[in-house]
Structure formats: structure tokens, C-alpha cells
């Protein structure tokens, strides 16, 4: 073979390898956040009661369909309809959880419509569009739905939602995220369009360290942080760094490569060469099991405070090799709400509605889907009360309204440029269907308590 041809093949092969790797994984893209102040010219719609309701795109006088995608909407045939968009991932890395997220969201509106809907309107989520967790496809799906819906029931992924934010801004399209980036609480990032719910990774990071220091019988002096850069890792790490500084804890190492470049050998190597009393992983289940198991084999069992995406209930299922390790009392997981079995009114309603639909699962993704809709419901109710169900009216409502969630999350005032600061702390437990037993509900540590949450996103 000609040398030039062989070199050409080598160069081509390397380029193709990079392309193939990027195409198959969760390549992250970030969009520089622009600063724009939403002008709030109206009083809070939540405290205003209008006699007539102005409507716009995505709101019809005709009733909602009885069912969408085979799931009943519970819509009242005598009422009009508010349509919500759905940007879901049916073929990408979150394809496996897409049905649970969507089922719970449709179940939520089935319950909400049955309970009276939004004034003279019921709510229906349109057929979901497949974003593949790819920002470009996310935009394509958004474009296909933008003329049909009044708001988005779900926009899955932080980088993906950032990617379409300018378009949402043009349309005044409000939406619920399916991610917990601290930036969603600040207009400088989300332009007042993203209706966040639950605590962000940043607050979870602060609370994870504070809680471990206060509650565990281990003298924690040094810690390590690992996570995926460009996604939830940065927000998480920023929170832990703040808590470590406040508590005088030494951060021995911080390992934050992009998702596809995460090297388990290096993560374990760091734990071996620079042992710590506790580590704080914000990785995926694959990396979590390998890192925890690899360290344990070398005699290392530091406390692990896992960010929500790191933990998977498969770790404590019968037959999983590391079940004993995950249930040893050295591992803990953070969450934005209590697990499926929790005893709040919202959890009870969720379980009853899902049971009525024949859903037999205690997946945390069902909780994620259900909890994501509460604040959006509060925004729609406020817009209706304000007599303006146009997108602009919904946007104004989202900029200044109290929303509650039947005890699932704290009552929150949207549009105040400050993130929630409470977290839920669980311990892995295979005897519970969700695989997580709640240890500390709505925990706010000293760091998160004293942190200036008006200072903007953590990362």
C-alpha cells in the first residue's frame, strides 16, 4: 500500500472515530447565556382576577382530545383546551426513561383536569417530539411544535434547553425543564422562561457536604469531587467547593472531564493516590459502580455522597454484585424531592393516579415527571387569573407568582432570581421499591442557608 494512502487512512480513521464517538454519546454543547431583563409591567397575575380571558397560540375554545398517545387527558368536554409541548428523548441516552417521564406528566394533567383544570380550560400535552438529547434536533422539534402550543410541558436537558432559549424568547414560550441547573432560577440565564422545580445540583452539593459533616460518624477533613463537565458536574462541583471553603475542608482533587472522556482508571487512581474521607460523584451509573467497586477492592470505602444522576436503584437489586457495598452505610444519594413512597399529599395523589392508569413502578423518573408539572400548573393558573392566557401573559405570570405542590416541594416564588436551597437526602435500600430510603427531607445546611442565592447561577 502507498505510504500516503496509509497515512490518509490513519488520519481519516481518527477523525471518523471522533465523529462516531460524538454521534453516539451525549455530546454537550453550551450556548453563551445572554443577559436580558424581562420587563414586568403587570401586577402579579396571581392576585388579579380578570373578568375575561385573552387567549393566544395553543389555547382553543374547543375541548381537548379525550386521549393523546393512548393516555386519557381527563379533559372536560365543556371547556376549552390549553396545549403544552413535549420535547422528549425517545432515541438518545435518556430514551429508556422517556416513557416514565411522559407517563407521569400526562398522568399529572389527567389528575389536574379531573380536579377542575385551569379555570374554563383543560390541559393536554401534544404528541411528544424526539430530540435524541441533541441540541439541533431539540430545535427542530421545538420548531415543529411552536405554533401549536401555549407552553412546554418538558424540555429535556440543560444544554439542549439553552440551545433553544433564544427561540423561546422570540415566542415568549415558557417551559418546564427536565434538568436541575441553578441557572434556571435566574433571568440572566433563562430570560424568565424556564419554570424550574426542585433544588439545583449546586444546592444539593452544598447540602451534601454540610449534611455529611453534621450527621455521619466520620471525621471528614479531605474530600474529592468528580463529575461530568458541561452538564451537571460543574454546578454540583461549584456547590461543594463553596461548602468546603465555608467548612474549612480540603478539596484534595476535582476530576471533571467531559462525559465521554471520563476515565474510571484515573478516578480510582486519584482515590488511591490521594485518599479522601469522602467523595462527591456527579457521574452516571456506569462510572459510579466502577469507581465505588474499584476503590473498595483496594481497601478504600470513603463516604460517597452521590448526586441524583449517579445513583440507580439497580445497585440494590438482588443479584447486583455491589448491593452490599451500596447498602453498607457509606453511600448516600441526593434528590430534589422525596422518593416515590413518601407520605405527602402530592405523592399520594401521584401514586393513586398512576395506579389508576395501571402503572406498576416506583421509578424516580415518574416522580421527576410528576413534580415537574406543579409549578407550570401554578403559572397557568396565575395567567388565567390575570385574564391573559397568551404566551406573553403566561410569561408575565411566570415572572412573579407563588407556586405550590401539595407538599412535594417547598412553596416557591418564581421570578425572584434566587434558587431553592433545600435538598432531600436518601440512603440506598433494596427493601424499598424505589431503592432509596429518605433520611433527611427538605434539608438546608448552614452553607446553603447563608449563601447569597441572589448572586446568580453557581456555574
Amino acid at each position: 500500500m502507498k505510504p500516503l494512502r496509509k497515512q490518509g487512512i490513519i488520519i481519516f480513521s481518527i477523525l471518523a472515530l471522533v465523529l462516531a464517538a460524538c454521534g453516539g454519546g451525549t455530546a454537550e454543547e453550551t450556548v453563551e447565556a445572554t443577559s436580558e431583563t424581562v420587563v414586568e409591567t403587570l401586577d402579579s397575575p396571581a392576585v388579579t382576577t380578570a373578568s375575561s380571558v385573552k387567549t393566544g397560540v395553543g389555547v382553543t375554545a374547543e375541548p381537548c382530545p379525550e386521549a393523546v398517545g393512548g393516555v386519557p387527558t381527563g379533559a372536560d368536554p365543556t371547556k376549552g383546551c390549553i396545549y403544552l409541548g413535549m420535547l422528549n428523548d425517545y432515541t438518545g441516552p435518556y430514551a429508556a426513561v422517556a416513557p416514565a417521564l411522559e407517563t407521569a406528566q400526562r398522568a399529572f394533567w389527567l389528575w389536574a383536569n379531573t380536579a377542575g383544570g385551569i379555570g374554563e380550560y383543560s390541559v393536554a400535552i401534544v404528541e411528544g417530539g424526539d430530540t435524541s438529547y441533541n441540541p439541533q434536533k431539540h430545535l427542530e422539534v421545538y420548531n415543529s411544535q411552536r405554533d401549536k402550543v401555549a407552553a412546554l410541558a418538558m424540555s429535556l436537558g440543560t444544554p439542549q434547553t439553552l440551545f433553544i432559549l433564544d427561540e423561546m424568547d422570540k415566542d415568549s414560550m415558557v417551559g418546564a425543564p427536565m434538568s436541575w441547573y441553578s441557572g434556571w432560577s435566574y433571568k440572566s440565564v433563562d430570560k424568565g422562561l424556564v419554570v424550574e422545580f426542585g433544588s439545583a445540583y449546586c444546592a444539593d452539593g452544598m447540602n451534601a457536604l454540610d449534611w455529611a459533616l453534621a450527621s455521619l460518624p466520620v471525621d471528614i477533613k479531605t474530600i474529592g469531587i468528580m463529575g461530568f463537565a458541561g452538564d451537571y458536574g460543574n454546578d454540583w462541583a461549584a456547590g461543594i467547593q463553596v461548602a468546603a471553603a465555608k467548612n474549612g475542608i480540603e478539596v484534595a482533587w476535582e476530576y471533571l472531564p467531559p462525559t465521554l472522556e471520563f476515565d474510571v482508571a484515573q478516578a480510582v487512581g486519584l482515590m488511591v493516590t490521594k485518599p479522601v474521607d469522602a467523595y462527591f460523584p456527579a457521574v452516571g451509573p456506569t462510572q459510579m459502580a466502577q469507581v465505588a467497586g474499584g476503590a473498595f477492592q483496594q481497601g478504600l470505602t470513603p463516604i460517597a455522597m452521590m448526586a441524583a444522576p449517579s445513583y440507580n436503584d439497580a445497585f440494590v437489586k438482588e443479584g447486583f454484585p455491589l448491593k452490599a457495598l451500596f447498602e453498607s452505610g457509606a453511600m448516600y444519594s441526593m434528590a430534589w424531592v422525596a422518593p416515590y413512597e413518601a407520605d405527602t399529599t402530592a405523592h399520594q395523589t401521584m401514586r393513586a393516579t398512576l395506579a389508576q392508569m395501571g402503572v406498576e413502578s416506583a421509578s424516580s423518573f415518574l416522580v421527576a415527571g410528576w413534580s415537574s408539572q406543579y409549578h407550570l400548573k401554578g403559572v397557568l393558573e396565575a395567567a388565567y387569573k390575570g385574564g391573559d392566557l397568551t404566551r406573553e401573559g403566561i410569561r408575565r405570570a411566570a415572572a412573579n407568582v407563588y407556586v405550590e405542590s401539595d407538599g412535594m416541594m417547598q412553596t416557591r416564588e418564581l421570578g425572584q432570581n434566587r434558587a431553592d436551597n433545600d435538598s432531600y437526602i436518601n440512603i440506598p435500600d433494596g427493601s424499598i421499591a424505589s431503592g432509596a430510603r429518605l433520611l433527611a427531607p427538605s434539608y438546608v445546611g448552614p452553607t446553603a442557608e447563608s449563601y447569597d442565592w441572589t448572586s446568580g447561577p453557581c456555574a
Binding site: M1, K2, P3, K6, Q7, I9, I10, F12, S13, I14, A16, L17, L19, A20, A21, G23, G24, T91, P93, Y94, A95, A96, V97, W253, Y255, L256, P257, P258, T259, L260, E261, D263, A265, Q266, A267, V268, G269, L270, V272, T273, K274, G284, P285, T286, Q287, A289, Q290, G293, F296, Q297, Q298, G299, N312, D313, A314, F315, G319, F320, P321, L322
Partner: protein, 306 residues
């Protein structure tokens, strides 16, 4: 010293796994003059088949392992017959791109099956010793990695004998040297291509098992480990099996040493090398070697008459 030995042990084990994938790359390259990017996908598909048989269907693990490996070989053979055979004589770039398509196709189907929860393969390794490991003089050795190392050596020996002593092995060597001459000598080149893909599929699935066995588990990201064998092939020389093995060990050791010593090195030189350096380092070594030996350490040097 203990940490050095630990890093060496882990590097050698990684190298052994990479070598199984790398040999598959080389076999296909030698026979068809093209790099198959479907190898990483075949590795994780093999692991998926083993998991499906052992966990979902309850077939004893060792039987599942053998069946999974053979089925992956068969799948590889079918891929060759279905997608690759019509491409014989077409530009190698087209064929390489086709293998990328096959890789994406296989992984998309597999990812849908895997879902978000890690898949356990049902192997008994984690039950041996200390969660599947033994400690000797302070160095922790994992049974799965020890098995990978000896499996790698075994495969190399078997392949060496196969190429030298068996009829089909000799035919494969002849085909890799000159397809037209091999055809003229009565060798069924098409059958040789199929055999090459069958063997490559078997090797890939073995690597897939060692990548995802124990508590490593099979997830949507497992294929990345198999992809890391590619620089090993380039370092060793695209057409050299022994080169693939040496290249794999170089890659594995580099990854192991950087993983364990990067922070010390950074302290020493006072410069941060970055979070992803352990995966970048093998490519730096590859670039350095290609500058000196463009055909790789063991690749056949080509002489061109101008």
C-alpha cells in the same frame, strides 16, 4: 512502589482487553484493507447477548458466555455477508464509513434494550475473594482482569498456530497478501472474508465481556472502552497482530500510569494537564511514534516506486 505495581497491573489488564479488540481490527484490515469501526459495537452487543441469556433467560453463566460469544461471531458473519460483501472493490473510505453506520445501527438497537439501568452479566467473578479481587503484597489484582490477561495470551497463541498450521489460516494469510493471487490459487476469498469477520466478532465479544463483566456492568457508554483500542492498532501497525498486542499494552500502561501518577506529575512540573489527560496521553504517544515510524512499530514498511 506498591502504587507503581498497582498501576502496572491495571495497565496490563487494560492492555489485554484492548488487544482482543485490536486483533479484530487488524484481522479485518489485513483481509479487506479497511478499518472496521463496527468492532466496538460488536463488543458491547456480545456483552448484551451474554447478559440477556444469563440474566433475562436464566441460562447458566458459562453456557451463556459461550453462546453469547458464538452468536456475536455469527452476527459479525451476517454483517459481512449482508453489508460488506457487496462493497468488495469499492473505495476503502466508503467501506469504512459503512462500518460506522453499522456501528451506530448496532448500538442504537442495543441502547434501546439496555436502557438507563446498568446491566449485570451474571458472571461469578465479583463473588471471588474481596468483591472479585485478591491482594498480593499490597497490590490488588482483579480476577476479571487476570482472566482478561491470560485470555489475551491464549488467543494470541491460538491465532498464531491457526495462521501457521491450519488450511484456512494459511488461506487468510495468502488473501491478506494479495487477493487476486489468492483467487488465482483457488482460495475462496469470500469465505475467507466471512471467516475473518466471524473471528473478529468472537474476539470483540470476548473483549466486551471483560469490559462489562463483574460490577463494571453494561451501559450505553461501555462501547467507549472498546474504542480506545484504536490508537493501539495504529501504534503497532495496522497490519501486524503482534503490533496490535504491543500497541494495546502501551496504551493500557499509559492509561494506568497517567491515572495513578498524573497528580504527582502535575505537582512536579507545576502545570495542570487537565481532567481528560489519561485518555489523551495514548494519542500523544501515537503521534510521537508515527513521527518516527509512520507505519507503526510493527507495520509493513511500504516502498513506492516514483
Amino acid at each position: 512502589m506498591t502504587i507503581f505495581l498497582q498501576a502496572t497491573a491495571e495497565g496490563l489488564a487494560l492492555g489485554a482487553v484492548y488487544s482482543l479488540v485490536a486483533i479484530g481490527f487488524v484481522l479485518i484490515y489485513k483481509a479487506m484493507d479497511v478499518l472496521s469501526f463496527a468492532q466496538p459495537a460488536l463488543a458491547v452487543v456480545g456483552a448484551g447477548l451474554i447478559s440477556s441469556l444469563a440474566i433475562d433467560r436464566g441460562i447458566p453463566f458459562w453456557i451463556s458466555l459461550i453462546l453469547g460469544i458464538l452468536l456475536t461471531g455469527l452476527l459479525s458473519l451476517i454483517i459481512e455477508r449482508t453489508f460488506l460483501r457487496p462493497m468488495v472493490g469499492e473505495p476503502v473510505f466508503s467501506v469504512a464509513v459503512l462500518t460506522i453506520g453499522i456501528d451506530i445501527l448496532l448500538r442504537t438497537v442495543l441502547d434501546n434494550w439496555i436502557g438507563l439501568s446498568p446491566r449485570y452479566l451474571g458472571d461469578p467473578f465479583p463473588n471471588f475473594g474481596n468483591f472479585g479481587s485478591i491482594t498480593l503484597n499490597g497490590v490488588t489484582l482483579k480476577y476479571l482482569e487476570i482472566s482478561a490477561f491470560f485470555t489475551g495470551i491464549f488467543v494470541i497463541i491460538v491465532l498464531s498456530i491457526f495462521f501457521k498450521k491450519s488450511k484456512y489460516g494459511v488461506a487468510m494469510r495468502a488473501t491478506s497478501l494479495d487477493q487476486e493471487a489468492a483467487l488465482a490459487q483457488g482460495i475462496d476469498v469470500g469465505r475467507i472474508f466471512g471467516l475473518v469477520w466471524f473471528i473478529a466478532g468472537i474476539l470483540a465479544s470476548m473483549a466486551g465481556f471483560f469490559i462489562t463483566g463483574g460490577f463494571n456492568t453494561l451501559t450505553q457508554f461501555s462501547f467507549i472502552s472498546a474504542l480506545r483500542a484504536l490508537p493501539a492498532v495504529v501504534i503497532g501497525g495496522l497490519d501486524s497482530i503482534s503490533g496490535a498486542v504491543v500497541g494495546s499494552i502501551i496504551i493500557g500502561l499509559t492509561q494506568g500510569y497517567v491515572g495513578y501518577f498524573q497528580s504527582n506529575l502535575e505537582t512536579l512540573i507545576g502545570i495542570s494537564l487537565g481532567s481528560g489527560f489519561s485518555l489523551l496521553a495514548p494519542y500523544l504517544i501515537m503521534f510521537a511514534i508515527l513521527l518516527v515510524k509512520p507505519d507503526g512499530l510493527f507495520g509493513t514498511e511500504e516502498v513506492e516506486r516514483v
